[in-house]
């Protein structure tokens, strides 16, 4: 993060720095842990997967002459006897952003070697993610109960169900994987693996709090994807 320093090599700022970093006959990403670079490359490929899903949704929704189901009615939820549009989705967004915030602060405390705070915040993040997955399971079972299937639904265009289940399902799968890893890393931090210098994932090198930042990148990406799904699928 921020300003790395390497002896015998002048690090220029801005686009000049980009050119000299790329042509330096050394590692290209100066001051970036290899695991972090790999996570970024993975997230880039994942971005393409989600983009393809959302673009196919745009194509499907745009090319059907049948009326598309109105999301603010389909996803409405009864609260005190009154149907509130998108209530559950708004709560899910709230929970996911909350967990994204705790993750960001956990990364900060990790770099400050504040083991306890980092661990508690990771645990809070994991519980937030678990709540999100639970709410999504509720949302799915409610819609399935109302007769939404990948091939038909009672609200409008038949393509609605297949796009809904594929896009939110793939996102929910990402959240679930993230929750599992968040619990594993909560354990690792509380057990003091980084203070004892236990080896990290896929490597014999010693683990370090940079792993928390790498996990954080993944978690923020899951939140980032939700921003796009919320805008295009639920609000549009």
């Amino acid at each position: 993060m921020s300003e790395p320093k390497i002896d015998g090599f002048e690090l220029k700022p801005g686009f000049k720095g980009m050119a000299s970093d790329t042509a330096s006959d050394q590692t290209m990403f100066k001051g970036v842990h290899w695991g972090k670079a790999m996570m970024w490359i993975f997230l880039l490929s994942d971005t393409f997967v989600f983009s393809c899903f959302l673009i196919s949704y745009m194509k499907g929704r745009g090319s059907t002459p049948v009326e598309w189901p109105n999301p603010s009615e389909v996803f409405a939820l009864e609260a005190f006897g009154v149907p509130v549009p998108l209530l559950l989705i708004a709560l899910m967004t709230f929970v996911l952003i909350t967990s994204s915030g705790t993750m960001a602060i956990a990364v900060k405390y990790g770099y400050e070697k504040n083991r306890k705070m980092c661990g508690w915040l990771l645990l809070a993040t994991a519980l937030g993610g678990l709540t999100f997955v639970g709410m999504q399971a509720y949302e799915w079972s409610k819609l399935i109960h109302e007769g939404v299937r990948p091939w038909e639904n009672p609200f409008g265009a038949a393509q609605f169900g297949s796009f809904f289940f594929m896009i939110t399902g793939f996102h929910g799968f990402h959240v679930s994987i993230g929750v599992i890893f968040l619990f594993i890393y909560t354990y690792k931090v509380f057990a003091g693996h980084y203070e004892k210098g236990k080896k990290g994932w896929f490597t014999k090198l010693k683990g370090d709090y940079v792993e928390i930042e790498i996990l954080g990148l993944y978690w923020h990406f899951v939140d980032l994807v939700w921003v796009f799904i919320f805008a295009f699928f639920y609000l549009w």
């Binding site: 993060m1 320093k5 967004t93 994204s100 900060k108 980032l224 919320f230």
Partner: protein, 119 residues
């Protein structure tokens, strides 16, 4: 050997310097506020161009804040930032291609299945 030692030293020093907690709390609050606003777009049932432009505006603002500050891209060197952001132009191209495609498909469906073709 001496050189690697120096690198290790600078790495250690670097880890100690983190960002103040205030910046994360600010971004966090902003994300809540922006999410609230984008929910209000649906609540007040804005329609047409106003709805779409507001949705996109809040979406890109939130995505930018998350990437820049939570994912630390604002503080990374341009070598990494550019490797990550330029491929997005390929996605933009794909969106334009498929937008043209769905308009044509819709036209074909209406023309041949609803209108009954040119004959």
């Amino acid at each position: 050997m001496e050189k690697t030692n120096n690198i290790e030293k600078t790495d250690k020093k670097e880890e100690a310097s983190t960002h103040k907690i205030g910046i994360y709390l600010w971004i966090w609050t902003l994300l809540f506020v922006l999410s609230f606003f984008s929910y209000m777009v649906d609540w007040y049932q804005f329609q047409g161009m106003l709805r779409w432009s507001l949705i996109l505006f809040f979406m890109f603002l939130k995505a930018g804040l998350i990437m820049a500050f939570f994912m630390h891209l604002f503080w990374e060197r341009y070598a990494l930032v550019n490797v990550l952001l330029w491929p997005m132009t390929a996605i933009a191209c794909f969106i334009f291609l498929m937008a043209a495609e769905f308009q044509y498909t819709l036209f074909s469906r209406l023309f041949y299945f609803v209108v009954g073709g040119g004959a």
